[in-house]
Assembly symmetry: C2
Homo-oligomer: 298 residues x 2
């Protein structure tokens, strides 16, 4: 059955959350807005992100995988601030010819991803669209004021680390990655992390952004960049969609981190890839590249 | 110049907010997330909504008008809870061939709408799309716990009111309407409003929703429904995109409201259109219709 046959009201009834378990949710899943009790302390984090058919997923991709990715992308940004995600809102723009089963599978992926990190889906909106499918997810979260890590706090001589391995995400990982929420919160709780971000457009685009935001340069040891199996350095730098953490740590904390990390996260590699240096003194070939949405071949 | 020629990074530099004036914004406009200090008291309101080319606006529509509408739609939902909008995030999905001037005009409309209601744009995201343009806006706001008005609080014998005039929005009003934020907050502050919502899909679709959420029926006096100039009753009921308030008030407050309203809002009509009645006792022809996104002609 297609969405056109089912109609919007009945679709919403099928995918709507049936009453909330959380005492934080005052109401609103079927109201005009979500209404939430939030902790008095800490800062509010807000992020919204969209996945688009033909850009972030192929038409043939598993609907549940698309749902997982759509939820995990903004969660990865919450992670990058060392935050805790709490609430999500879903906007779907879908052609009327979309099969209803595709949408229910999509929601299965969205829900599974939300449950994995204790996020509650508190609202949704659907609209028709003539072209490809668009799924936009907005997330609200919290972070303790003293624990929030910005991109802009990097200092000269900080050591640069990345989690995981980079490159080749398009082969499948981009539909099933895990945002580094737990890792980022642990880092911010135990170390003086100066700057952090998640890698979405590739290290070649994202490392210069972190350095620029911090008003410093960078020295990257290309040979140390951790690569996914079968990937070249170039692919590791430019493919994008890694959703790993890039962070800057004062050099006197490096030894302690390198000892503690493998005990805490034995299955996730952590690699020191370089240093922050004085602005204008980039000691590796200046990076160019990474993913630009508007500059892809037609 | 097109977005493809300009590239994503330079586009973001052009449209990004250049530093915030508000002390509530800790950071994040150019970071992974928006980071916000919020008032300890009150509830958090979250809403996200999208406008889609060919559905919510024609390709030829003024870009500034589209921006205005994209911002005002979620603000209208915040209004419907008697809330105060505070922060907005923008997601743009645009074809690479889009002219950069279209996007800067769109942002002019988004910003003008935000400024009008004291909303701060605290983040944005852009992505390419193959089909029509999509603009998704997420809004966070606050409401005092005792002032929040849900759809579900309507009671038998409550009087039903609507603000403004209904129907014919497509002729132009849908690109320049004003959400009833001030009116809703005034109502909630001075009257025991039992239930409220904003009219987005037309009274014929939305009144049954309010009644259903409240577990009651409705009696609508069709002849009293306030119509926009040149509109039939049917158009007033079904056109949608009115963005007016529909609310239910105990009958013993009607006289006081009808006296106070024209003094406070002399330019905005307020009309009593019927009553809530016991469930299953709808005393007007049961409404059918309103706008269904997935059931429009292809």
């Amino acid at each position: 059955m297609t969405l056109r046959e089912l109609g919007e009201e009945k679709l919403l009834a099928r995918i709507a959350v049936s009453g909330s378990k959380s005492r934080q949710v005052v109401g609103g899943v079927r109201d005009d807005c979500a209404v939430l009790k939030t902790a008095a302390k800490g800062w509010l984090l807000l992020k919204t992100d969209a996945v688009v058919e033909g850009v972030h997923f192929r038409a043939s991709a598993s609907a549940a995988g698309v749902g997982w990715k759509a939820m995990m992308r903004p969660l990865s940004d919450i992670a990058a601030m060392a935050g805790q995600p709490q609430f999500a809102l879903i906007t779907l723009a879908l052609p009327g010819k979309t099969d209803v089963s595709w949408v229910t599978s999509l929601y299965r992926g969205l829900r599974r991803a939300a449950v994995r990190f204790g996020v509650e889906i508190v609202g949704g909106e659907t609209t028709a669209i003539a072209g490809g499918r668009v799924i936009s997810v907005s997330v609200a979260g919290r972070v303790d004021a003293g624990r929030c890590v910005f991109r802009s706090g990097g200092k000269v001589d900080d050591a640069l680390f990345v989690t995981g391995r980079l490159g080749g995400s398009i082969a499948g990982r981009h539909l099933k990655f895990t945002p580094r929420i737990e890792e980022a919160r642990w880092l911010a709780a135990h170390f003086d992390v100066h700057a952090m971000m998640d890698l979405s457009d590739g290290l070649a685009a994202d490392l210069p952004r972190l350095a620029r935001a911090s008003g410093v340069g960078y020295s990257l040891q290309l040979a140390r960049v951790p690569r996914s199996r079968g990937c070249t350095v170039e692919e590791a730098l430019n493919d994008g969609e890694d959703y790993e953490l890039l962070f800057a740590l004062p050099s006197d904390e490096v030894a302690r981190l390198e000892k503690a990390w493998p005990r805490k996260f034995p299955r996730l590699p952590l690699t020191r890839i370089g240093n922050l240096v004085r602005a204008g003194k980039n000691r590796s070939q200046t990076l160019r590249g990474g993913y630009d949405h508007f500059r892809q071949p037609e």
